[in-house]
C-alpha cells in the first residue's frame, strides 16, 4: 500500500505549494471580478465596451503579431544558415544568438533608448548629415515597442528553429536543386515546409512573450502606448483600481491560452494535410 502511495507523497509538496501560492492567489484575484451583488460578466463587458481599453487590447495584439511575423522572417533564414554551417562555427554562431537572450531585458531595452531617443544615435547621425533638421520621434511609439520586442524574442525564435533545422537532411536541398529548382524555390518548397513545427513553437513563444512582456512597453512605449501588462500595473498602482487590474490579469491569461491553442490547432491541421499529400 505504501508503495502505491509513494509517488503521491513525493509529488504532494510541489502540488500543495502550487495550489497555495499560485492557484489560490489567482482565484482570489479573479473570483471578485465576476461578483457584484450576484454573478456577472459586467466587468468584462464594460472593459471591452470602453474605447480606450479596446485600443490597448488591439495595440497589444497588433504589436505581438507584427513582432512575431518579423521574427519568423528574420529567424528562418538565420537559423537555416546556422544549421548548415560547419560544426566549429556553429558553436560561435549559437553563442552570438544566446548572448542577448541571457542578457537582462532592461539592458536590451535600454540599448534601443540610446539608439532611437531624441538625442539618440539615429537622430544625431541624420542631423549631422543634414538629412533632417528636427529630431524624429522614434522612441515612445508603437514602432519602438515592436523593435524592442523583436530584439527581445528573435534569439528565442532562432534557437527553436536551429533545433528543428539541424535534423533536416542537407541532401534534400541538393536533390531539389538537381531536379531543377533554384535555391530560393528549393528553400521555399523544401526547407520552409519542414521547418513549420519549429516556426509554430517559436511563434507561440514570441507571440505570448510580446503579449505579456512588461519591461519593453514600459521602457520603450511611454505613456501614450500602453500595452496590457503596463495597463495592469498602472491600474493596480497609480489608479488603485485592483478589480480593473484583475480583469486585465484574466484577459492576459485567457489570451495566452487561446493563442497557444490556436497555434496548436494550426499545427495539427498542417500535420494532417502533410499526411494526406504524402
Amino acid at each position: 500500500m505504501t508503495q502505491r502511495r509513494l509517488p503521491y507523497i513525493i509529488l504532494a509538496p510541489g502540488m500543495i505549494l502550487l495550489i497555495l501560492f499560485l492557484v489560490l492567489p489567482l482565484i482570489s484575484i479573479i473570483f471578485p471580478t465576476f461578483f457584484d451583488g450576484g454573478f456577472t460578466f459586467a466587468n468584462y463587458i464594460s472593459f471591452f465596451k470602453d474605447e480606450y481599453n479596446l485600443g490597448i487590447f488591439w495595440r497589444t495584439l497588433r504589436v505581438s503579431l507584427i513582432a512575431t511575423l518579423v521574427c519568423v522572417l528574420l529567424g528562418v533564414p538565420t537559423a537555416y544558415y546556422i544549421s548548415q554551417s560547419p560544426k566549429k562555427w556553429r558553436g560561435l554562431l549559437m553563442s552570438i544568438t544566446l548572448f542577448p537572450l541571457l542578457t537582462n531585458s532592461v539592458v536590451r531595452s535600454f540599448a534601443w533608448i540610446t539608439i532611437l531617443g531624441q538625442g539618440g544615435i539615429i537622430n544625431t547621425a541624420l542631423m549631422n548629415f543634414g538629412i533632417i533638421s528636427k529630431p524624429l520621434t522614434l522612441l515612445y511609439t508603437e514602432f519602438s515597442i515592436i523593435i524592442g520586442s523583436v530584439y527581445l524574442f528573435l534569439p528565442l525564435m532562432v534557437i527553436t528553429l536551429v533545433g528543428i533545422l539541424e535534423n533536416i537532411d542537407s541532401e534534400m536541398m541538393e536533390a531539389a536543386e538537381t531536379l531543377g529548382a533554384n535555391r530560393f524555390i528549393a528553400f521555399m518548397k523544401v526547407i520552409l515546409p519542414l521547418s513549420v513545427p519549429g516556426i509554430i513553437v517559436g511563434s507561440i513563444l514570441v507571440f505570448t512573450g510580446s503579449m505579456t512582456a512588461y519591461t519593453t512597453p514600459q521602457l520603450l512605449g511611454g505613456n501614450r502606448n500602453i500595452m496590457l501588462a503596463t495597463f495592469l500595473y498602472q491600474n493596480a498602482t497609480a489608479l488603485g483600481n485592483w478589480k480593473g487590474a484583475s480583469v486585465i490579469a484574466l484577459i492576459m491569461i485567457a489570451a495566452t491560452v487561446i493563442v497557444m491553442k490556436l497555434f496548436d490547432w494550426v499545427a495539427k491541421r498542417m500535420d494532417k494535410r502533410g499526411e494526406a499529400s504524402a
Partner: protein, 259 residues
C-alpha cells in the same frame, strides 16, 4: 557545402542587429559626458566606479543573487523528486500533473507577481521578501521539471534495478545511483532557472518594497529618471556576468544543453 552569398549576408545582418546595440552600450559606458553620447568624447572608467559606489545598486544586486539562489534551490528540492516520480512511477493523471507543474509558464509573470502580492502579502500579511522568494520559486519550478525530467527519461532504468537487486533501498538508490547520473541535468536546470530568475522583472514588479528591490527593477527605476553612462556601465557589468556564466556552461555542459 556550396556557399550562398545572399543567405550568408542576410544571416550576418541579423547577427549584427543582435550584437551592435549591446556593443553601443559598451562604448557609451566610457564616455566622459554626463549624458549618454555616441560617438563618445574622451575616455573614462569613472562610471564603473559610480556603479560600485551606488548603494541601491549594490544592495539590490546582493538581494537578486539571494532570491535567485533560494528560488532555484527550493525549485530543485521540490522539483527533482517530483520529476523523478513523474518519469518512473505509474501516477494517476500523469500528464495532467506534469502540465500542472509547468503551469507557471502559462501565467504571465506580471500576473504571477500580482496574484502572489494580493494573496500572500496583502491578505495573509507575509513579509514582502518571502512573497518575492515564493514568486521566484514558482517561475523556477518548470525549468527543473522539464530539464531534469527529460534527463531522467533518458537514464537507463536497469541500473536502478541492479541497485535494488544488490540490496539498496529505493531511497539509497535514488541518492547513490539516480542523483549522480543526472547531475548534468540538475546543473543545466539550475543555471537556466537561476539566470531567468536573476533577470526576471515582471514577477518582482509588485513584490518590492522598502529595502526589497531586485537589481533589474532598481536599474529600470534609475533609467526612468536618469540618462547617464552609469546605466551603460552597470549594463556592461551585467553582460560580463552573462559571458562568465556562458563560459562556465560551455566548459561543463556545452551551450547546446541549455538551448
Amino acid at each position: 557545402m556550396r556557399k550562398n552569398i545572399g543567405l550568408k549576408s542576410f544571416a550576418w545582418l541579423v547577427f549584427a542587429f543582435l550584437l551592435i546595440p549591446l556593443l553601443i552600450i559598451v562604448i557609451t559606458s566610457f564616455g566622459t559626458n554626463s549624458t549618454i553620447q555616441f560617438p563618445i568624447k574622451g575616455f573614462t572608467f569613472n562610471w564603473y566606479g559610480k556603479v560600485f559606489q551606488n548603494e541601491s545598486f549594490m544592495d539590490s544586486f546582493v538581494l537578486s543573487l539571494e532570491v535567485a539562489f533560494i528560488g532555484t534551490l527550493a525549485a530543485l528540492i521540490i522539483g527533482v523528486p517530483a520529476a523523478y516520480s513523474l518519469a518512473r512511477h505509474k501516477v494517476f493523471g500523469r500528464n495532467w500533473i506534469k502540465s500542472f507543474f509547468l503551469s507557471p509558464t502559462i501565467v504571465p509573470g506580471l500576473v504571477v507577481g500580482y496574484a502572489v502580492y494580493q494573496f500572500v502579502v496583502i491578505q495573509f500579511q507575509f513579509p514582502i521578501l518571502q512573497g518575492l522568494m515564493l514568486g521566484h520559486f514558482l517561475i523556477c519550478l518548470p525549468y527543473v521539471i522539464r530539464v531534469v525530467g527529460s534527463t531522467i527519461e533518458q537514464l537507463d532504468f536497469s541500473i536502478e534495478e541492479v541497485s535494488w537487486t544488490l540490496g539498496c533501498t529505493k531511497l539509497q538508490t535514488f541518492f547513490k545511483i539516480v542523483i549522480p547520473n543526472i547531475t548534468s541535468g540538475i546543473f543545466a536546470s539550475f543555471m537556466l532557472a537561476f539566470i531567468n530568475s536573476f533577470n526576471n522583472i515582471p514577477v518582482s514588479q509588485f513584490l518590492s518594497g522598502p529595502g526589497v528591490t531586485m537589481l533589474p527593477t532598481s536599474l529600470m527605476n534609475y533609467i526612468e529618471y536618469n540618462y547617464d553612462p552609469s546605466v551603460s556601465a552597470l549594463s556592461v557589468v551585467l553582460m560580463l556576468g552573462t559571458i562568465v556564466l556562458m563560459f562556465i556552461i560551455e566548459k561543463t555542459l556545452g551551450l547546446a544543453s541549455i538551448s
